[in-house]
Structures are given as structure tokens and as C-alpha cells.
């Protein structure tokens, strides 16, 4: 179990504690510049402005150099040794651990097969595609057989479709490995797809943590709710009766229904002035304003909506999230 205590990701940030239970895959979710990379470097022992104690199974690692921590890292940029071949790159951590050549070659070949690099063994990293370079970095991290594996937004620089396939590969790969895995991302989909646990980071400090579905269902703050939806939650307006005495209230884009497809249960109707829409085929995001608050409605399939149209929309009562009830 990896335990963080009095952790401040930047000097004046609010300190927090967090246990990463052994064998679990925790997705650290946060916007850009919310401290995700600092958290990764802090755990790995690399130079960064974070402070606080890091202990692994009770053993305090804070003072130790990265070399003597059992932590492997995959960086956001595809970092491989440019002058070594693919095989040498994968074998690098085993070389440092003094594993004998015979075993090294076997494990290198196994990992290369698992990550689809077996024909590229003698190639140099810059001859590989982006996806292959990141697979190489993942293979090397796994070759280390570290107790903790940290992946800092590993897929963000890859093509849209490649990202989708690699997330699947990573899921099966990481679950079998049995190590504690920390995976940072800005996309809540990764939290749902990969995370046994999710840790929300905002303004360089911990916001909330727990099972993805639990955190999604009852976020403890507006910011936590906002993080778990992409593109963010819809802020509720001043209608006192609806939101009772809550200081703040919001509803998730996917919980706003079109009048044409009403959901079960008690609903409230609003009118939305449509600005425009975005679609990826499977789902469509309708952007507009509801009582001059910017709102987004997510619906499945390709909705046919025209900018300037006034769209009747429905919100179920128990989909409204209320915060700071006085």
C-alpha cells in the first residue's frame, strides 16, 4: 500500500493524505496544471516542487532516490533512449537490477509480444510511430516489475482511434500485473474505463476520492461534480423552489433529456436557446443557454438541431446535485 501524508503538490497548496491500496488501479483526474505531474514526480522521487511523506508498505521512501524506490513511470512525452534499440530499451531496468542475460532476453521477448513490438526489436525508437514508441515505454516500465506503476497522461499525444484501442490494451495489461497503478488523465472516460478508484485533483490538492460510480453519483463539491463530466456540469439558476436552500446546484449534461424522449420520474421543463452542436456519431453535445447560463446537453446518436432554435429540455428532480445546503 502506497501512503501519501502531508502532501503539498506546490509549496502553498493545501496538504492532503491519500492511500493507494495495493493492486488497485487509481485514476488521478484533474484539469491541466492541477498538479497531476507533480504528484507523479513526487511518488517517483524525481525533482519537483511537491513536499510531504511517501511510504510504501510502511517503509518511508521520502528521502530515497528514484533508483532505490520500486516505482516505474511512463511519461506523457514518449521517452525512450534514442541510441538504444527497442530490445535494449525494454531490458534497461532488468540490466540495472542485475538480471542475468538469459532471463533478460526471455522477459524482453515476452513483453515485446504482449505489446506487439516483436518484429521491431532491433529498430531505434525514432523509427517507430507514436503509438509504438509509447508501447515501448510501457513495456520498459513493466519490465521493471516495480511495486508501483505511474502513467502520466500516457495517451494524450496519440491519435483519437489509437487512444481508444490502447486504453483497452492497458486495462487488461494493468489488471493482470497486480501492482498498484496510478494513471493520471483529464478525461473522466478514463476514470470509468480504467479506474478501480478515482482521485480528484483541483488547485493542486485532493478534492475527493472513491469508486468512480460513487464519486459520480454523489460528488461532495461543485468542482468534484464538474471534474467527473466532460464538458463539465451545467450550473443551476436562481429558481429558489427547485434547488431549495442549496448554495450551488448543477446537473450533468447526460442527465438533461430532450422533451421528445422524456425520462421516467418527476421532471422539470426548461427552454434552451441553441448556439450549436458537436457530434462524434455515437453522441451529440448540444450547446446553448438556459436562462442566460451556458448549458450543454448530451444525447446519444446524431441529434438534428439548428442553431437559434428554442429547444424544450427536461431535468429529473433527483438528477439535480445540490451543494452547500444551509
Amino acid at each position: 500500500m502506497l501512503q501519501l501524508s502531508q502532501t503539498q503538490l506546490v509549496p502553498d497548496a493545501e496538504a492532503f493524505e491519500h492511500p493507494f491500496r495495493a493492486g488497485t488501479l487509481t485514476v488521478v483526474l484533474g484539469r491541466n496544471r492541477s498538479g497531476k505531474t507533480n504528484l507523479c514526480r513526487h511518488i517517483a522521487g524525481l525533482a519537483c516542487s511537491a513536499a510531504g511523506e511517501v511510504s510504501l508498505d510502511g517503509r518511508v521512501m521520502s528521502g530515497l532516490r528514484p533508483q532505490s524506490r520500486s516505482v516505474a513511470v511512463v511519461f506523457q512525452a514518449f521517452v525512450n533512449y534514442p541510441n538504444w534499440t527497442v530490445a535494449e530499451n525494454i531490458a534497461s531496468p532488468m540490466l540495472a537490477q542485475g538480471v542475468k542475460r538469459k532471463d533478460r532476453d526471455i522477459r524482453t521477448r515476452q513483453l515485446a509480444e504482449v505489446l506487439g513490438l516483436e518484429e521491431l526489436m532491433q529498430r531505434l525508437p525514432n523509427e517507430l510511430s507514436g503509438g509504438q514508441q509509447q508501447r515501448l515505454a510501457i513495456a520498459r516500465a513493466m519490465a521493471q516489475r516495480a511495486q508501483v506503476l505511474v502513467l502520466d497522461e500516457p495517451l494524450v499525444n496519440l491519435d483519437y482511434k489509437l487512444r481508444e484501442t490502447l486504453v483497452l490494451e492497458l486495462r487488461s495489461l494493468l489488471q493482470q500485473s497486480g501492482t498498484s497503478v496510478i494513471y493520471t488523465s483529464t478525461d473522466p472516460k478514463d476514470a470509468f474505463a480504467l479506474g478501480d478508484e478515482v482521485l480528484l485533483l483541483d488547485e493542486h490538492t485532493k478534492l475527493q476520492s472513491g469508486k468512480p460510480l460513487d464519486v459520480y453519483r454523489d460528488p461532495q463539491s461543485y468542482a468534484a461534480a464538474d471534474l467527473m463530466s466532460d464538458p463539465g456540469v451545467n450550473p443551476f439558476i436562481t429558481k429558489a423552489s427547485l434547488v431549495a436552500a442549496a448554495r450551488k446546484a448543477a446537473v450533468r449534461p447526460e442527465h438533461v433529456y430532450l422533451a421528445s424522449a422524456p425520462p421516467p420520474g418527476e421532471v422539470n421543463e426548461f427552454q434552451m436557446d441553441v448556439w450549436g452542436l458537436e457530434t462524434s456519431g455515437d453522441e451529440t453535445f448540444i450547446h446553448g443557454s438556459v436562462e442566460d447560463n451556458p448549458w450543454v446537453v448530451r444525447c446519444s446518436g446524431m441529434a438534428h438541431v439548428v442553431p437559434g432554435q428554442r429547444l424544450p429540455i427536461l431535468v429529473r428532480n433527483d438528477d439535480i446535485m445540490r451543494f452547500g445546503v444551509v
Partner: protein, 346 residues
């Protein structure tokens, strides 16, 4: 403004055997928002460089309107391009940057100022006009780059090479909407290169899907999504993409077109049923949460079936290892070679 007509256009680096861009023909009507969608290495940027005149075609013709520009130099083609990162005259002010192409073409100075102010207002960068380009934020710089491309009244086509790559995720949506709005207002022909299907389907009236230097399908976003011309397009569009199963593997019959050997269905076209029902039997292999719908958890269920792995989207009222039936509410038929066969579906 001009329509773009390509026939048999291709490109191959001297000395290479296979084509970087296989011969293709395409017609882009004037004023359309056109997207070139494909993974990296699909030949999108090569096509763009052929249109901008940076590369000379190996074979085939390019027509802007009805004049043949295949071998005409870029400066005579009246083409504008927006790159992945903002390409501006860093030492000049925003106003000078916007006026530059107009001054180079010797338009009347008074008219130039008016035009620059009009475009700046359109892109909401009026206050930035006096500032030196180098001092702007990345987002503002890309807006100015777009302004430079739109400022010329006689521009025949505006080429955009993944213009949002360097922009922060939260700002992408705003830039996309601005681009779309301005494109409709000025009715200028735009060709938008991207590997991101959301950008392609959102921006374009017409989408061309490319892979390995070849053009697979051209159609409206709905056509591309609902009736992919081949299995690759079906799989490439949609996350997760379309499932494909061999017809003889199906449990029960399904109206199937003549000559079809495989059936394709999108995860949201299928429904999980109790064991024994539906056209396919499968065991749940993994569950991927995506959120809740009216309180119940929803997401993607991946199943192992006699015909291989499939993904079904819906309520997650199953657990790993359950044996269930899969009912296809909608499907398409594909030939053995993977091409769409005239589909019958309700």
C-alpha cells in the same frame, strides 16, 4: 470562391514504389465545409500540400472552379492555409498581420482597413488589433491565423491542417464553433484535416475518410456514421466502432441482403436480452461504466461470442461471466471483401 475538382490526383515521392496518395477523384462544391478524416499517415496532409501548391502532383488534375491549377505556384492559386501551430509574422501587429495578404495583392488601403476591422470583429479579436503578434496567447494567435486566411475576399479555398492541436482542450470547443460560424457567414470553401472524428463530424457538411493513402468514402456525417461504405470506415467512426460478425455464426435468421457474408452493427444498435433470445449468444467479458441514465448505471458491455468479440452499449444490469442473448435492432450487411451491400433495415 471556387468549387474544387480533383480527378485521378495522386502523389508519390521520386524513387518510392507505393503511392503516398493513391489516385483519387473528388468534387468539393463551392462554399462547403469539407473534412479530411483519417489516422496519421493516411495521406491527408499530402493531399493538403497538393492543393496548396507545395507539392506537384505525380498524376491527375486539380481544378479550382474551371481553371486547371495542377502545376500553378501557390501564390497564384489564391489559397490560404492554417497550420497546426499559429504561423504569423511575429514582429508585426495583429492588424498588420491581417492586412498583409491584402497589401501584397495591392487592394485599396482604405478598403483594407475596413475589411481587417470586419474580420477582427467577426473573430472577436478587435481589442488585440494593435498588439504585436508575439505577445498574444496561443489561442488568440490561432484566431489571428484563421483571420489571415479569411481576410481575402477572393480566396478560393481555406486549408486547415489540424488547427486545434496546440489549443487547450477547454478552448477547442470555442474555436470550433467560431470556425463553423465564420465558414457559414462567408460561405468560403474550407478543407479541414483531422484525425479526430468529433471535429470532422461537427465541422463538416461533407466528410472524406482516408486510410493508407486511399480515399474510402465521401458523404455527409450521417451517411458516414449510419452507412459506412466498408468495414474500415464502420470501425473507424464511433467509439467503440462497429461490430462485425459472420452471418452463418448468427443463432437465428435476420433479413440479409443478397451477396452479404458479414453483418455489422453499432454498439447502440444492439440490446442485451436473457439467454436464448436475440440473434447471438455471448458471455460478458468486461463492463465499462460511462455514467448513469435515470439513475441506472450505463456503459459498454464487451462480450465473447461464437463470432468473436462484440461491444454493446446500454444499461449495465449484467455481471462479468453472465450468459446473455444479443438482439440486433438495426444492422448493415457487408460482402466478404468488407464492402457495404445494399442494406435493408427497418
Amino acid at each position: 470562391m471556387a468549387s474544387i475538382q480533383l480527378d485521378g490526383l495522386s502523389f508519390r515521392y521520386p524513387g518510392a514504389e507505393e503511392y503516398t496518395l493513391a489516385p483519387l477523384s473528388l468534387n468539393v462544391p463551392d462554399g462547403t465545409a469539407f473534412a479530411l478524416l483519417g489516422a496519421s499517415g493516411a495521406g491527408k496532409t499530402t493531399l493538403l500540400n497538393l492543393l496548396s501548391g507545395l507539392l506537384a502532383p505525380t498524376s491527375g488534375r486539380i481544378f479550382f472552379g474551371d481553371d486547371d491549377v495542377s502545376y500553378v505556384a501557390g501564390r497564384q492559386r489564391n489559397v490560404a492555409q492554417v497550420f497546426q501551430f499559429p504561423v504569423l509574422y511575429e514582429s508585426l501587429s495583429v492588424a498588420e498581420n491581417l492586412a498583409f495578404p491584402l497589401r501584397a495583392r495591392k487592394f485599396d488601403p482604405l478598403w483594407i482597413d475596413e475589411r481587417v476591422r470586419h474580420i477582427a470583429a467577426d473573430l472577436a479579436i478587435t481589442e488585440q488589433l494593435p498588439f504585436v503578434a508575439a505577445d498574444l496567447s496561443l489561442f488568440q494567435k490561432q484566431l489571428v491565423a484563421i483571420g489571415r486566411a479569411l481576410v481575402r475576399p477572393d480566396v478560393s479555398v481555406v486549408l486547415l491542417d489540424e488547427p486545434l492541436t496546440a489549443v487547450e482542450p477547454r478552448m477547442k470547443w470555442r474555436l470550433r464553433q467560431t470556425l463553423r460560424r465564420v465558414q457559414e457567414e462567408l460561405a468560403v470553401t474550407m478543407i479541414y484535416v483531422t484525425h479526430d472524428q468529433t471535429e470532422a463530424l461537427t465541422f463538416a457538411d461533407q466528410v472524406a475518410v482516408m486510410a493508407d493513402g486511399g480515399l474510402l468514402q465521401v458523404g455527409t456525417p450521417e451517411q458516414i456514421y449510419a452507412t459506412p461504405s466498408c468495414e474500415f470506415v464502420g470501425y473507424f467512426i464511433g467509439s467503440p466502432g462497429m461490430n462485425f460478425v459472420d452471418i452463418e455464426r448468427l443463432e437465428s435468421s435476420l433479413e440479409v441482403s443478397v451477396g452479404a457474408s458479414r453483418v455489422g452493427f453499432r454498439p447502440e444498435w444492439a440490446l442485451l436480452k436473457p439467454q436464448g433470445q436475440g440473434q447471438l449468444a455471448g458471455t460478458v467479458e468486461s463492463i465499462q461504466l460511462a455514467g448513469t441514465d435515470s439513475g441506472a448505471a450505463t456503459g459498454v458491455v464487451r462480450l465473447d461470442t461464437a463470432a468473436g468479440r462484440v461491444a454493446v452499449r446500454g444499461k449495465l444490469n449484467v455481471a462479468v461471466g453472465d450468459h446473455v442473448g444479443i438482439e440486433l435492432r438495426q444492422h448493415l450487411c457487408f460482402s466478404a471483401q468488407g464492402d457495404l451491400v445494399t442494406a435493408e433495415y427497418d
